[in-house]
Symmetry: C2
Subunit: 232 residues, 2 copies
DNA sequence: TAGATTGTTAATCGATTAACAATC
DNA sequence: TAGATTGTTAATCGATTAACAATC
């Protein structure tokens, strides 16, 4: 639309990262997938890749890849392709992998305990600093190297160590109430597994609702309505 | 595009359900959400609802709701709105909630055990008939009323009781190999939590890949690049 | 009947794909 | 230089929104 390209002004330099290089919602949703494939390429020792090669790997069009990678800064090279390491580090930066985000898990039930042990957080630069629960039989225990604390200690804990996000794995009927409490503790991001949609946008919160049930239903749908080449 | 409306031919009646009333991918992705909100309305004893009312509840436009509900059969009534129970039952039908689908869980680790205890499956008409693992310390145990069997018994089990879908919560490096085995057992749907993209479309399989890490990264991104009204 | 609200068409918007000139 | 491959514009496609006539 306007000038574009890497000619940043001094004002641009001052922004948190380099902000708003018009990354559309559709591109943002795809970034994590690029992150995964680039990781794998690095593990395989691949130094460069073309949009064409990456496209057949990921099952999308080369055109889309070029379009996507271009909207946050042109760092391919004509006739050569993309430098895998550089591309990866730029995407990491964009996704906040180096931002040192701290998380707590609310609810030390099955799902909470499964998540705390998953390597997912560490890979993405998120550190789980504590879990919280109300169940006295769980409080004080340690899971995956993380201590389970009493929900009563939430405020004092967050006061001592600022927390960026909370992972909600508590029963859905307590989700709304606990969310308010978390926001007043200065937590801005909620990763919500309760199954109840939370929309606290007004209050400045950032909520990512995970609906596993929705995903299951889509599988259901597709099993019941197979398309041509899914007919077995 | 062509005649539309509920004037089904005899040929239509023979299809698995009533197929292909041109439901677009975007609508399919939204159906589970309608399912959830309608359930809640029923629980609240609400008998009818207008697109306007539902729109403010769900935070989408009334226009989208009318458009969505219309593409799989007009069952609103002008001047009245939609009958909640009827709408719900139609969506359930479309999503295969009454289809009596049977599932098994592959991998009785943290996530597998968390899922088997979740009410999610039952609510959506999916019955978990068994779990499988290779770990001898888990085999024979029972979790959430479901028995953990030896992976070796997979083939004979599926032979005795046909299974529609498998939930993959096993380590990602074994995902590809096990998937092949599941397909040859006649299982057509895979709900894949391994984090490795599976694309077995050629082989007639229907795969729903769940990438929790991608969801986490989007939260990361939004925390690092807050928009106007997320600035706290 | 009058009021409400759908079904449906047309207009808008955004995202994807195709094509090719720029350039390494 | 010649070949490869990007960056970028234009064309296409699909999804969303607006508007309103049809109708309960």
């Amino acid at each position: 639309m306007d000038q574009k390209k890497n000619n940043r002004t001094t004002a641009d330099e001052m922004l948190p990262l380099e902000d708003n290089p018009n990354v559309s919602p559709a591109v943002i949703r795809r970034l994590p997938r690029y992150f995964r494939y680039l990781r794998q390429l690095i593990r395989q020792g691949k130094a460069r890749i073309s949009s064409g090669e990456l496209s057949s790997l990921m099952g999308v069009t080369a055109s889309q890849i070029r379009q996507d990678l271009n909207c946050f800064g042109g760092f391919g090279q004509q006739g050569y392709g993309y430098n895998v390491n550089y591309l990866y580090s730029r995407i990491c930066e964009l996704l906040g992998v180096e931002a040192g985000l701290r998380a707590i898990i609310i609810g030390a039930g099955d799902l909470g305990r499964a998540l705390v042990r998953a390597p997912m957080f560490e890979k993405r630069g998120v550190e789980i600093v504590s879990m919280f629960d109300v169940d006295p039989t769980l409080i004080g225990r340690e899971v995956g190297g993380v201590r389970i604390r009493d929900m009563k200690e939430l405020e004092s804990f967050c006061n001592d160590l600022p927390v960026d996000m909370a992972v909600l794995t508590l029963p859905k009927d307590r989700a709304a109430e606990v969310s308010e409490r978390l926001l007043s503790c200065g937590i801005r991001g909620l990763w919500n597994f309760t199954g109840k949609d939370l929309s606290l946008g007004d209050e400045g919160a950032i909520v990512e609702n995970v609906h596993l049930g929705d995903s299951l239903m889509i599988l259901n749908y597709r099993l019941c309505h197979p398309t041509e080449n899914e007919q077995k």
